[in-house]
């Protein structure tokens, strides 16, 4: 077994001395973390602590200036843009704070869009994903006809539909009221119980408490 694959076998996500610079600004400094398969981890820190930068690198939306990134057993640091795109489509589920649904597609079509860029669309699988987040009755509604909580649940269904091994949520309840926050957290806990690896970015300590483990960042460094 090659060394690279051995390293991957131990963790779903592993970084070594990960550094990211934006010009003269050091956004991430020598960050080394390891997240096991099936683990539910919260990345926490104040604004500007580097948690979003770390998440962008872990989701292959951005690249590191230096250091190693291992995702689901693969060395992602050497990916070119096409490889990052391909990896995102196949291995990563993403949930955003602002939901980012296509406004002119229905809930069902928004979920199917992820399938479209992954491989082929499968309406019944998309329906099941929306069923899982309790939106069977909203399949044909446009995002503008859904509440914030419902939009976020569509976003979660879209992230789940291709059954990616890595699930990332960036402030998933940041724009939600208490009731919807609790619903979304329930879904995340259920996904965790099903054995998915979940990384959640949040600055909310209460929310962080739902995770198995919290990684704290401060000024671009891992502090605990």
């Amino acid at each position: 077994m090659p060394e690279q694959t051995r390293a991957a076998a131990a963790a779903a996500i592993e970084t070594r001395h990960l550094t990211k610079r934006f010009g003269s600004v050091l956004a991430l400094a020598e960050a080394s973390i390891s997240i096991g398969k099936g683990e539910f981890v919260a990345l926490m820190g104040a604004s500007g602590s580097g948690k979003t930068t770390l998440m962008n690198i872990l989701t292959c939306l951005d690249t590191a200036t230096s250091g190693e990134v291992w995702l689901d057993g693969v060395d992602a640091a050497g990916f070119d843009e096409e490889a990052r795109r391909e990896f995102r489509a196949r291995h990563i589920g993403l949930v955003f704070q602002q939901f980012h649904l296509i406004p002119y597609l229905t809930a069902l079509e928004n979920v199917m869009l992820a399938q479209y860029y992954h491989s082929v669309t499968d309406e019944s699988a998309a329906r099941r994903a929306l069923e899982e987040v309790g939106l069977t009755h909203r399949l044909d509604h446009l995002p503008s006809e859904l509440s914030g909580g419902e939009q976020q649940r569509v976003c979660i269904a879209r992230a789940l539909v291709n059954e990616p091994p890595l699930f990332f949520a960036d402030e998933p309840t940041g724009n939600l009221d208490e009731e919807n926050e609790s619903r979304v957290l329930d879904i995340l806990r259920r996904l965790h119980a099903d054995g998915r690896t979940i990384v959640m970015v949040t600055h909310n300590p209460v929310l962080g408490g739902y995770a198995q483990r919290i990684i704290h960042l401060q000024h671009g460094r891992i502090v605990s």
Partner: protein
Amino acid sequence: MAVSRMTGVLLMRALSVRNQRVLVVFLALMVGAAIVNALVSVYFDIDIKMSRELRTFGANFYVGPAQAHTLPEADFDAVAAAAPPGLVEAGSPYLYGTARSELERIALAGVRFSALKRLVPYWQVEGDWIGVDFDDRNAMIGRTLAARLAVGVGDPLVLVKDGDKRTLRIKGVIDAGDASDSLLFINLPLAQAWLEKPHTISHALFSMMNREGEVEGFAEQLRGGHPEWTVRPIRKVSSNEGEVLVKIQGLMGLVSIVILLLSTLCVNTSLTAIVSERQREFALQKALGAADGAIIRQVLLETLAIAVAATVAGCLLGFVLAQVLGQTVFSAGIGLRAWVVPITFALSLSVAVAAAAVPLRRIMHIQPAAALKGE
């Protein structure tokens, strides 16, 4: 198949939500297509139309003897036969001479009457034209000569020669405003017999379509092959005609280019605005794993769908516009040419693709991480 369905859903929904911007792109492309379609139709019709218009000034091609005073009549037919198809609109041999009438000596011209109406359409004729070449019982007379002889339409005119008499009836009195006003026009064989010059003509006049200077080319060809002839395009008509045609066609080409450029700019501006508005949407698609090529294909498909619809509408509008131009300028319709449609499509779709080039490049530079950052 399912992928195609999603492509269709994305296409139709994306077009339906941005009505105003899509309408602007549609109108810009439609107006461009309509004007280009109309101008291309007129462009290819104008030389024929202009030639016909200028034909009303009379003959524009002369063939006469270089040294002698006459030509064999067969030379006229040789010229007509050597002309490229469609070049000769009308032509007639002319044989001039003098004869005695009962009243005084007169100048006459033998012609082929059947060609006269098309050869000298500017003649004002009181009475009737003689329509057939073989009519040797009627004659046409210039108004000056008619006044001098005090004859009018329906009157007989008697030619006299060595005790021989030939009575002709005046069928039409000509007001040409030139030397024709002093001539008696009779059938060519009769003139040849009366003047005792069988199978002989003085010269030949033709009315030719001046397509892209073909007349001058034909004259050169005849001069090279027949040094015994004097061949001369009548420049006051054919040369001016060519210049006017070139200028008008150049103007139309220029207007078409300007319209296409304006159309491109307008479509480009609208597409840039659309791409800018949809930046987050494209960033999200990239985040979900869409390749740049897939998004570019999607936007290009949307643009081409608008362009095809706009070009179809533009072709219909352009045909109407061409008819308006034709009626206004030439008092005649512009022919429907099927091949103008693919030209319009090619130009219109090129405009759409050219206009989309810069906005499409912007899509490639969208960074999902930056574009999807928090509000």
